[in-house]
């Protein structure tokens, strides 16, 4: 393998894992910009969404083996409903002290993690790939079909979300209520419903990330812990509350991780990724794509 193809191989891996972080980071940012709170249960929501979809695909419910695409949609739908429930839970929290609401979301994460451990056991399982396991060879770079699917669908979802927010009336109403909920409410926008929609979208993105990654990673009730933290780091890196920022932050974080694992040492991956993050934030505290939108907290 040539030097360049090794580089591109590493880069593709980084973009793959990065799009996963980006989807989870979107969950953090959608919650923060709408309700002004950091939802540390986001990693658990990613795990829960993965189970909601994968259990149907793997035949864990009444031995049903539904097609992967259908399982994917079921997972997204279940997590969308979860988002609506979460908005109702978070609504009184958003008025509370920052410390209390952080504690509450961390607690919620523990509850979800433990609940799924009780139901499904602590040991995880591998998921059969819906696509062939032989990698494609694209100009000397080997890409797993599932990895290509992960990247492709993630990008489609992120672009779709961005278009929804910027081009549609509902997206506009959501942005308005995130910027100044009092004025938005006076204009007749049901701000609570807009928050529920924002949380639903965030939860759906996390479910999508989990279900797309499931055939590559390992599914277990603790799968959300590391991804949740990295998604948060990515959201901060991009500028917490910014939607393009979450995407940029996720991709940059994933690529950094892959490059430092490939060229320096896999032991130092996390340290290097975090050091770069801290340096970026020292230079630009509002993150890569700092927005004026977010004036909360």
């Amino acid at each position: 393998m040539s030097v360049t193809s090794i580089f591109f191989q590493t880069l593709i891996g980084g973009i793959g894992i990065g799009s996963l972080y980006a989807l989870v980071a979107l969950g953090y940012s959608m919650t923060f910009r709408s309700m002004g709170l950091v939802n540390f249960a986001q990693g658990s929501i990613y795990m829960v969404g993965t189970y909601f979809g994968i259990i149907w695909y793997q035949g864990m419910v009444m031995n049903l083996h539904v097609p992967y695409a259908v399982a994917f949609l079921i997972g997204l739908l279940c997590n969308a409903l979860l988002g609506i429930v979460l908005e109702r839970i978070f609504r009184p929290l958003a008025k509370l002290d920052l410390m209390l609401m952080l504690l509450a979301t961390i607690g919620l994460g523990f509850i979800l993690d433990n609940l799924f451990t009780i139901i499904f056991g602590a040991t995880g399982f591998a998921v059969d790939s819906p696509l062939p396991n032989t990698p494609w060879n694209i100009f000397g770079v080997r890409v797993l079909p599932q990895m290509a699917l992960l990247i492709g669908v993630s990008f489609a979802l992120m672009i779709g979300n961005q278009l929804f927010l910027s081009k549609t009336k509902w997206g506009r109403a959501m942005r308005a209520s995130a910027m100044d909920f009092e004025i938005a409410r006076a204009m007749g926008i049901p701000t609570n419903r807009m928050n529920a929609l924002a949380l639903s979208i965030g939860c759906m993105m996390s479910a999508a990330a989990g279900i797309l990654a499931a055939p590559i990673v390992y599914v277990s009730p603790s799968m959300g812990v590391a991804v949740g933290l990295k998604g948060f780091a990515a959201a901060i890196l991009g500028g917490l509350g910014s939607v393009p920022g979450a995407i940029a932050g996720g991709l940059v974080y994933g690529v950094l991780e892959a490059l430092s694992a490939g060229y320096i040492s896999s032991t130092w991956t996390q340290a290097i990724a975090y050091i770069v993050m801290v340096v970026v934030l020292m230079v630009k505290p509002s993150g890569i794509v700092g927005e004026i939108t977010v004036e909360k907290v």
């Binding site: 506009r172 910027m179 006076a186 204009m187 926008i189």
Partner: protein, 254 residues
């Protein structure tokens, strides 16, 4: 009576911000509300637009009691306002600010938004045209696609008035629209007020720029320490000894 503020009292703990104030406003009039700082002008606006529930008295609009309704019910009833400290959606474009204000009466729902692009497009076009017409009235149409925050201060004030107009109000409440404007901009604002007035919209104006109030308003109510101390035409107000005392006495102390 079109709009009737009836024995309104607003109390915050021990502080009585508005004390038994009654004002009658006729349809289509430009009504000024003046008084020294802390005399209760903005508080009356906040009650009128549904941010505060009055401690006493009531507000009757077109024969219906509106005090106690929520802010969006009051918007739907036909009230719109601007703010002293300007509250535009800063990182949205000027056009988007107006579209958001129009959106609440929109007929196209979420499912149509996704599955019926034709209906969406038609509605969007109708709204955009109407928004452009309003921006034209306020002479800021050329900035339609700029971010609200990037506009000069005076223009942001006009965009806020355009946004208030976008909700199709019967009454518009303007809270110090001339604050921070220079003389030329204030003169332009006065012309804009006349244009809005000609559309049959009732204007309630809180303003420190006495010259603007005297020139623009048909009727002026003067408040001091939460109480109404005078009401009448500009000419009558200017001669009123109680008003002169409230203002001069205030200045004499400074």
């Amino acid at each position: 009576m079109f709009l009737e503020i009836d024995h309104l009292t607003m109390q915050f703990g021990g502080l009585i911000a508005v004390n038994d104030v009654s004002i009658n406003i006729e349809k289509g009039e430009i009504h000024g509300l003046i008084g020294p700082n802390g005399s209760g002008k903005t508080t009356i606006f906040n009650v009128l637009s549904g941010y505060y529930k009055p401690s006493g008295g009531k507000i009757i609009f077109e024969g219906r009691q509106i005090s106690g309704l929520s802010a969006h019910q009051i918007t739907a009833a036909g009230f719109a306002r601007t703010f002293q400290n300007m509250r535009l959606f800063k990182s949205m474009t000027v056009m988007e600010n107006l579209l958001v204000a129009m959106g609440y009466r929109a007929k196209v729902g979420l499912w149509q938004e996704i599955f019926n692009p034709v209906a969406v497009h038609r509605e969007e076009q109708r709204f955009t045209e109407k928004a452009l017409e309003l921006l034209d009235l306020l002479e800021v149409a050329e900035f339609a696609n700029e971010l609200a925050i990037s506009l000069p201060y005076g223009h942001q004030r006009r965009v806020e008035i355009a946004r208030a107009m976008a909700t199709d109000p019967k009454v518009i409440l303007l809270d110090e629209p001339a604050a921070g404007l220079n003389e030329i901009e204030t003169e332009e604002l006065r012309k804009i007020l006349t244009n809005i007035h000609e559309r049959g919209i009732t204007i309630l104006l809180v303003e420190h720029d006495i010259k603007l109030v005297m020139e623009a308003c048909e009727i002026i109510t003067v408040l001091d320490y939460g109480k109404k101390i005078a009401e009448g035409t500009a000419v009558a107000i200017r001669k009123d000894p109680v008003v002169i005392e409230a203002y001069l006495g205030k200045e004499g102390n400074q």
